[in-house]
Every structure is written in C-alpha cells, then in structure tokens.
C-alpha cells in the first residue's frame, strides 16, 4: 500500500515536473542553442506535422474513423489563412483561427458520409476530399490570388508589430500554437467528450444505448480534427515552407500523417509527437548515412526509393510487433528505468 502510494506520488511528481521542464526546454533552451539548420529542417516541419498528427489522432485514434484526406484539410487551412490575411487585413492570429474554422466547415461536409458509412467505405470516401480540394485549389485562380503557377509566397508572420521572420521567431510562433492546441486536445480527450468519442469507437450501438449522442460526437470529431489539421497546414506553409502551393498537400502527405500516428501510437498524444519526430528525422538520417557510407555514389532517386521501402517496412513492423507504437515503447522504457532507479 505504501509502496503504491509512494510510486503514485513519485510518478505524479515526475509528470508534474516534466511538463514545466519540457516547456522550459522547448521555449527557452532550444531557441538559445539550436542552429538555424536544426530549426528550419527539423523542428519547424516537426511542429507542423505533429499538429496534423494530433488532429488525425483525435479522429482516427480516439474516434476510430480512418481518414485518408488529411493533406486536403492542411491545404484548406493554408489557403484559407492566406486569403483571409490577404483580403481582410485582420491580424494574423485571427486569420489563422478563421482558417481553422474554414477547415472545420469543409471537414464537416466531408464528415457527413460518416453518419452512414463505416470502415473502408468511409476511408475511401475521405479520398474524395483529397482529390476535390486539390483540384479546386489548382483550378480556381482566385484561391491563389491569380498566381499562374499556383505557388505563392506566404505572408511574413507579424504579431503586434513584431516581425517574426527569422527561424527562431517562426519556431516560437509555431511552438506556441502547437502547445496551446495540445493542451486543448488533452482537455478534450480526458473530458466527457473524449469518453463519448472512445465509446463510439469501441461500440457504437452500446454508446447509443447509454445515451451518447453518436451523430453529434462523430461530426464534432470530424470538425475539430479538420480544424486542427487546417491550422497545421497554416504552420506548414507559413512557418516551414514559407510558400503556399497545392502540390505539397498531396496523397503522400496524407499517408505520411497517418503513418505518424501508426508509428507513434493511436490514441496517445505523446505518441503523435514521437511519430512525427521519427518521420521528420528518419529521411534526413538516411540521406546522411548513405552520403557518408557511399560518398555520393548513390543518386538521390535511389535513396528516395530505399526510403520508401524502409518506411513501408517500418509501418508493417510496428503494426505486427508494437501496435501501440513508440508511446508504448517509451512507457516500458521509463517503467524499466524507474525500476532500476529504485532497485
């Protein structure tokens, strides 16, 4: 009994301290020490993809509805923010918020089939969002403000007269948004809405019996998930790429986000960040590795193919050996470390 309570306090203390420590690290230590390369090539895409993964995990991990159209909602978010910023003169955070609302509205429309369809039929119908949005954004010049190539420079991030166009500024901006949304999602999934969502995932009929508003829960999940993914799209385009183009939000991006939550672990927030980190760092590592080992003898196309094979294999291996993803591995690791520390 005392052992248990001692463990509980220690674990509680650890998590109680972990969050401020993590915040201090991310908000203070990283901007002071990280090189521009690390910020630009690793941390900025990592933050945007983590946020997208968070949105998809809400829908797929907690809600059990598989979506193959995440990149479409990223595109909606990015283009909506660009157009609100261009045409309304509102401050950027408001434009980003409105972009989230726009993505939620579109997500709601494409979530309607979920009321009738399940499983694979739904997964395939989310592809409709992917193709329709990409087509609409390239077809109608209005979205890209008449730019002939469809590629537009993203606006400089400006907050209360402060220009955040350096790598550190964009990193802090992105990090603040990701941190805020993560806290929000954490509150939602550990609150009654989250429980409803999980109930609908695990047994829809039973959930209905005990009075869970199934239709509303599903639609809210779609809207919220799309909104978060939309904001992730804004971060991807505004803070990482600094251009807005429909081509970057293709089906491969949708799969990438799905892979993030499979590798990281479905229905865990921590796992999403771990998965995103792996997905971002892994191609860079592979590139470095092959450059070091073969000294440029292998051309870039070949590396790209190897990357695909290794990525696919990783997915299959995770599904077979660790369906709960990196998050579960981390849990086991910390439990073991704790055991060592005590014994």
């Amino acid at each position: 009994m005392t052992a248990i309570s001692a463990f509980a306090t220690r674990a509680g203390l650890a998590t109680g301290l972990a969050l401020p420590a993590l915040g201090l690290l991310a908000f203070v230590a990283v901007p002071l020490t990280a090189s521009p390369y690390v910020l630009e090539a690793i941390l900025l895409p990592f933050l945007a993809l983590s946020l997208a993964g968070l949105g998809l995990n809400l829908l797929t991990g907690y809600g059990g509805q598989v979506s193959l159209g995440s990149a479409a909602f990223m595109a909606v978010g990015a283009f909506a923010a660009y157009n609100f910023d261009l045409r309304s003169g509102l401050p950027l955070p408001v434009s980003i918020l409105l972009a989230g609302v726009t993505a939620a509205a579109i997500g709601l429309v494409f979530g309607l089939p979920s009321l009738r369809l399940r499983g694979f039929y739904l997964a395939v119908s989310t592809l409709a969002a992917q193709f329709f949005v990409q087509w609409a954004l390239t077809k109608f010049a209005w979205f890209s403000n008449g730019s002939p190539s469809g590629i537009i420079a993203a606006p400089v991030i400006e907050l209360a007269g402060l220009r955040l166009d350096g790598a550190v500024g964009r990193y802090l901006f992105s990090l603040s948004i990701v941190a805020a949304v993560t806290l929000l999602v954490h509150r939602i999934v550990s609150g009654p809405e989250g429980v409803n969502l999980i109930a609908v995932r695990d047994n829809e009929t039973a959930a209905r019996v005990i009075g869970v508003p199934v239709l509303r829960t599903k639609l809210v999940a779609f809207a919220l998930s799309s909104a978060i993914i939309g904001v992730a799209g804004v971060l991807w385009a505004f803070t990482y790429l600094r251009t807005v183009e429909p081509a970057g939000f293709n089906l491969d991006r949708s799969f990438q986000i799905l892979f993030i939550i499979i590798i990281g672990g479905l229905a865990t927030l921590r796992g999403t960040f771990l998965g995103a980190a792996l997905i971002v760092v892994f191609p860079l590592l592979l590139g470095r590795l092959s450059a070091a080992a073969f000294d440029g003898l292998i051309d870039a196309g070949l590396i790209k193919l190897t990357e695909r094979i290794v990525l696919g294999t990783t997915i299959i291996l995770f599904l077979i050996a660790e369906p709960n993803g990196l998050s579960a591995i981390l849990s086991r690791l910390t439990a073991r470390l704790r055991g060592i520390g005590r014994g």
Binding site: P113, R116, A128, F132, K139, I309
Partner: protein, 298 residues
C-alpha cells in the same frame, strides 16, 4: 444535327464503358482478396506496377513473350506467398483496419522494390494489338479496347468458374463465409491466403499489361489504384459482378461528365468525379450496389 449530337454522346459513353472495363480489371484484384480475407488491399496498384515492370523488363532483355509471362507468374506467386508469410500471418485475427494500414506499408515496399530492381525509366509495352479505330454503325471503336474488354470478360468467366466448380474455389468461399469454421474443418488458411494473393497477382499482371500498353510502364501505373477505389466502393467490396457493373457505370459517367459538365468547371474533373458518384450512391446504399449488407463492429 440532333442525330449527330446523339451519336457523339453515344461514342463518348461507349469510350467510357470501355475504359470502365479497365477500371474493373484492377478492381477485381481487390475483390478477390477482400472476399476471402476481409482485407482491403491497397497494395494492389503496386502489384500491378510490379507485375508489368517485371514482364516488360524481361521482354526487353530478350525473353520471349510467353516465357516472360511464365516467369512473371512465378514471381507473383512467390510474392503472394511471401506476403502471406511475412505480413498476413503475423497479423492474423487483427482488425481489418490494421490489415489495411499494413497493405499501405506494403504498397510502399513493393513500389520501391519494383523500381529499385528494374529502374525508374518509362518502358514502352507493345502487345501487338492494334490501336487503330474502326467504324461500326457510325461509331468509332478501337480494337485495343475491344480486346481488353474480351480479356476482362474471359477473366471474369474463368474466376466465376473457378469459384464455383473447383475444390480450391470452394475452399475460398468457405474461408470467405467463416474463417473459424473453415479452420475447424481443416482448411489451411495460410495456403489459401497465399493462393488468393497469387490469384490477385495474376489479375494484377493482366491489368498491368493492358494498362501498361496504354500508358507505358512506369511509376504512375500504381496510381490506377485510385481509379479502382471508387469502382470498388460503388460496386461493393466483395462482389466481382459489382466491380464490373460499377466499373462500367463510373467509366461512362466519368467520360460523359468530362464532356458535358466539365467545361462549366474548367475541366479536369476526372480526378474526383468518380468519387463524387460513388459517394452519392453510397449515401443511398451504404454497402454499394452489390455488396453484402453486414453490420460492422470494431
């Protein structure tokens, strides 16, 4: 004038129907696997690419046509059993969604491997079937399209006969009906799944040859999976007949829409129109035109 317009519409529809046959050809590979193992095999497109690339590379290296066919069939058989061994067996009794995501990973592996082995350049594939148009009752038809339709019909007939009259086909149906019962009466699930994936590989080869002759054999061949998915959704995942009918429906409406509705949207609606058609039908009939009505729990 009106007669001419009608003729034009008929020609567009006919062209659509024939390209619908090509969609159905890809969709049948999915149906085979879904029927017997409940897996939506996203890797079917990459199997089409793999089969066509293997075939065309062998032919280019001087292997005679039928020799290349036999060798590719052997490769697809090996691939089918390897997939059963390394992916399906460890994932037995897991949720259909998990298996689907595994095939997503599998499609990356097969695509990457196919191009790593055979290279990424575009190959021309000539099956010796003429693509010259000829005229029937004032309609222009292409020989190639008709041959493709004939091959598809023959394949469907063969598959139907196989399912109905052979012992293995009966075993396939047993597994499709109830996996546990099939195991209980002593069917070897592993071998059956391996065989099914091989059969899907054969279908992939046929589809790959026809599509490859049309588009050239290259990476984009694996993207035909995206053309086949709305066909599947529309026809129902577990019906070969559904795949054919839905392929025809989608092929025809897609071409008609491109000609008659497309100009209002500035064209290029082919990418999503099939999905829109499938979605509208699905909202009325959630398990497709011919799909089995099942209550899904997971």
């Amino acid at each position: 004038m009106a007669w001419f317009e009608l003729l034009f519409a008929a020609e567009v529809a006919l062209g659509g129907l024939l390209s619908g046959v090509m969609y159905a050809l890809v969709a049948i590979g999915f149906v085979l696997i879904y029927k017997t193992s409940g897996v939506l095999n996203f890797a079917q497109g990459s199997m089409v690419l793999f089969a066509a690339l293997t075939f065309v590379s062998l032919v280019e290296r001087g292997v005679p046509f039928w020799g290349a066919v036999a060798a590719t069939l052997a490769v697809m058989t090996a691939l089918g059993f390897a997939i059963e061994r390394t992916v399906l067996r460890p994932l037995a009794n897991r949720s259909p969604m998990t298996l689907f995501m595994a095939t997503l990973g599998l499609s990356y592996v097969i695509e990457g491997a196919a191009q790593l082995i055979w290279g990424t350049q575009v190959h021309r594939l000539d099956l010796g079937i003429s693509n010259a148009p000829f005229q029937v009752w004032g309609l222009y038809l292409s020989t190639f399209d008709l041959v493709a339709a004939g091959i598809a019909a023959a394949m469907v007939a063969a598959l139907t006969a196989f399912f109905r009259f052979t012992h293995t086909g009966l075993a396939f149906r047993a597994v499709a009906d109830d996996q546990f019962a099939a195991l209980a009466v002593g069917l070897r699930l592993g071998r059956i799944w391996g065989t099914v994936w091989t059969a899907a590989g054969v279908v992939a080869l046929v589809a790959g040859l026809l599509w490859g002759a049309r588009l050239g054999v290259q990476f984009s061949l694996s993207l035909i999976v995206l053309k086949a998915l709305p066909v599947l959704v529309l026809g129902g995942f577990d019906s070969i007949l559904g795949a054919i009918v839905a392929g025809l429906v989608i092929g025809a409406t897609e071409k008609l829409a491109e000609v008659y509705i497309g100009p209002f949207f500035g064209g290029g609606i082919e990418g999503w129109f099939a999905y829109a058609v499938a979605l509208v039908v699905l909202l009325l009939r959630p398990s497709g035109l011919f799909g089995q009505k099942i209550v899904e729990r997971y």
